[in-house]
């Protein structure tokens, strides 16, 4: 009898668990997975507003003939390939310096480098837009120092516009990633470093032989998160360069937004483009996890 009572008790508990998690799980299904499948269906239709018709893979074909979209893929990958590695290496170096026991004012340095995370994405994009404007502070300093003869139009020249976006991204996110590494470093016994030092290892050697291997799971995580974030860049492209000049710094998300809500709405085509981002996120995360596993 006591056994059967226990059974019902565990059954009851099991049910209680489902009740607890039901609202959260349900919301994720109807707010993430259901819309995702509806977007997939939508990507095979075309038309305006409510007049959507099945059109097979025509949206996917159109996507690769659309020069602006191809440009936006190139731009996004340009940001990804340059910004993510530079940022992660810089964050890693900063974290290992700040992990040094003899360092003074550690908290102050940490707070200052982490501070850009307190700004909203729109806010920092506008600050950088103003700093790099034709009449902005950067031009003023460069002209006064004699490096430039006249103000350079950073935001309306293709290469410099892209570089300004990368600089802004580095400014905003390096401290964020550094915090991940600092928290990962706390799990490494400091005595390991001291032992390495006694054995004659240089700082550079301990960085590559201790810090990097032991932080590998954290590095993998930050790499996946930054890749994911970069593939979805929107606020910076809209507010810093407005995608310009002539769409040469526009990101994929920015173009998808314009296609859905700014121009004559073409939801089918926009959904097809957004699905490409989904596939890219999944493929890149998978590749990074593969590479992350291999080095073990």
């Amino acid at each position: 009898m006591s056994k059967s009572k226990k059974m019902t008790l565990s059954k009851k508990q099991n049910l209680t668990g489902w009740v607890f998690l039901a609202p959260g799980a349900f919301l994720i299904f109807i707010m993430s997975f259901v819309p995702m499948f509806r977007a997939l269906l939508l990507s095979f239709k075309s038309g305006v507003g409510a007049n959507m018709k099945w059109s097979g893979i025509s949206n996917y074909v159109r996507m690769f003939q659309d020069t602006v979209f191809v440009q936006s893929i190139k731009n996004t990958f340009f940001y990804l390939i340059i910004q993510v590695p530079v940022m992660l290496i810089l964050a890693l170096v900063l974290a290992s310096i700040l992990n040094n026991k003899d360092l003074r004012f550690k908290g102050l340095f940490r707070t200052m480098i982490f501070l850009p995370c307190a700004t909203s994405l729109v806010a920092y994009a506008i600050i950088f837009r103003s700093l790099f404007a034709n009449n902005g502070l950067v031009n003023l300093i460069l002209v006064n120092l004699g490096i430039l003869d006249q103000p350079y139009a950073f935001l309306t020249n293709t290469t410099s516009a892209r570089i300004v976006i990368i600089i802004a991204l580095l400014w905003r996110w390096t401290g964020y990633n550094m915090v991940f590494y600092l928290s990962g470093l706390q799990n490494i016994e400091y005595s390991v470093y001291e032992a390495a030092k006694i054995d004659g290892a240089s700082a550079v050697q301990s960085f590559f032989k201790i810090t990097v291997p032991l932080l590998k799971p954290t590095i993998l995580l930050t790499a996946i998160m930054s890749t994911n974030g970069t593939l979805q860049l929107f606020d910076e492209s809209v507010n810093l360069t407005s995608g310009g000049p002539a769409n040469t710094s526009i990101t994929m998300s920015h173009y998808i937004y314009d296609m859905s809500f700014k121009y004559v709405p073409n939801f089918g085509y926009a959904a097809a483009m957004s699905f490409l981002i989904l596939v890219l996120v999944a493929v890149l995360a998978f590749l990074q996890m593969k590479v992350g596993d291999k080095r073990d």
Binding site: P23, G24, A118, I127, L131, L231, I277
Partner: protein, 268 residues
């Protein structure tokens, strides 16, 4: 450590810190100066704050946008903490094979980019009449895999014997959650609160999609509107940016450690 290397380290940290802080200092100083002074490179705070404020109030309904943003962010934070912590608690305390499987499916949702769900979500909100409403703003992000994972992780450290004792005393499961779990996990809630509030306050793409009416616009949207047009009043613009940054800066300074724990918390 040699002396040269030590000095080199401090110099490097000082340069990085300066670059990190300077744009924010410039924002504050520009907010108190006349646009012409900002353009001529004045870097010390001036006395033009009130004029900038009056110009800003005259050009945009900043008060309304600030109120909207605050309302959306506060309601989202409360709803999100409740729903996600209930789910995280349910997944961990009552875990079994089925729930673990469901949890790994939910984690996959982290990989779904927002743009890929944005159009169907917009269609849903527009059909349901949720455009320009708080419910429309909060629904897609009330429950996030990240927060569920974070609360699931912290529920692991919730002592089982105390729970058993409470059950024997006849406390219902829901009361154990509200009267014992929530108070014990205060630091996790603080971390979750900072991260959710900041994300909600800063969100831009989703409000831009569903807040079609200017009366429902959020603070970041209104600030972005200010950059449209040919002549930029830098003093006024930077004041708007400053006001937009203030709530998150306050949260950041009061709860810096909770914030750091919040972004890294689910990973440990």
């Amino acid at each position: 450590m040699t002396k040269v290397r030590k000095i080199g380290m401090y110099v490097f940290l000082c340069i990085v810190s300066f670059i990190s802080v300077f744009p924010l200092y410039w924002m504050v100083s520009a907010a108190t100066n006349k646009s012409a002074d900002v353009i001529s490179g004045r870097l010390i705070p001036g006395g033009y704050f009130m004029e900038n404020l009056n110009n800003l109030l005259a050009s945009q309904n900043i008060g309304r946008a600030f109120g909207n943003s605050f309302k959306y962010a506060a309601i989202l934070t409360i709803a999100s903490l409740l729903v996600s912590s209930l789910a995280g608690y349910g997944f961990e305390i009552f875990h079994d094979k089925g729930k673990d499987l469901l949890m790994s499916i939910i984690l996959l949702a982290m990989m779904v980019p927002f743009v890929a769900t944005m159009i169907p979500l917009f269609q849903m909100c527009s059909k349901a009449g949720w455009l320009n409403t708080t419910i429309g703003f909060i629904l897609p992000t009330i429950s996030t895999p990240f927060l569920i994972m974070m609360f699931r992780q912290s529920a692991r450290s919730f002592p089982h014997d105390i729970m058993e004792a409470a059950r024997i005393d006849g406390l219902s499961e829901i009361r154990i959650f509200f009267q014992m779990f929530i108070p014990t996990m205060r630091s996790t809630y603080a971390a979750a609160m900072t991260i959710t509030f900041m994300n909600a306050w800063n969100s831009y793409l989703w409000p831009k999609v569903i807040m079609t009416d200017s009366a429902s616009q959020t603070m970041p949207m209104v600030v972005a509107n200010l950059t449209e047009g040919y002549v930029t009043d830098y003093g006024m613009l930077m004041l708007a940016v400053l006001i937009c940054t203030l709530p998150t800066a306050v949260v950041f300074f009061c709860l810096q450690n909770a914030f750091a724990e919040g972004i890294t918390g689910a990973v440990k």
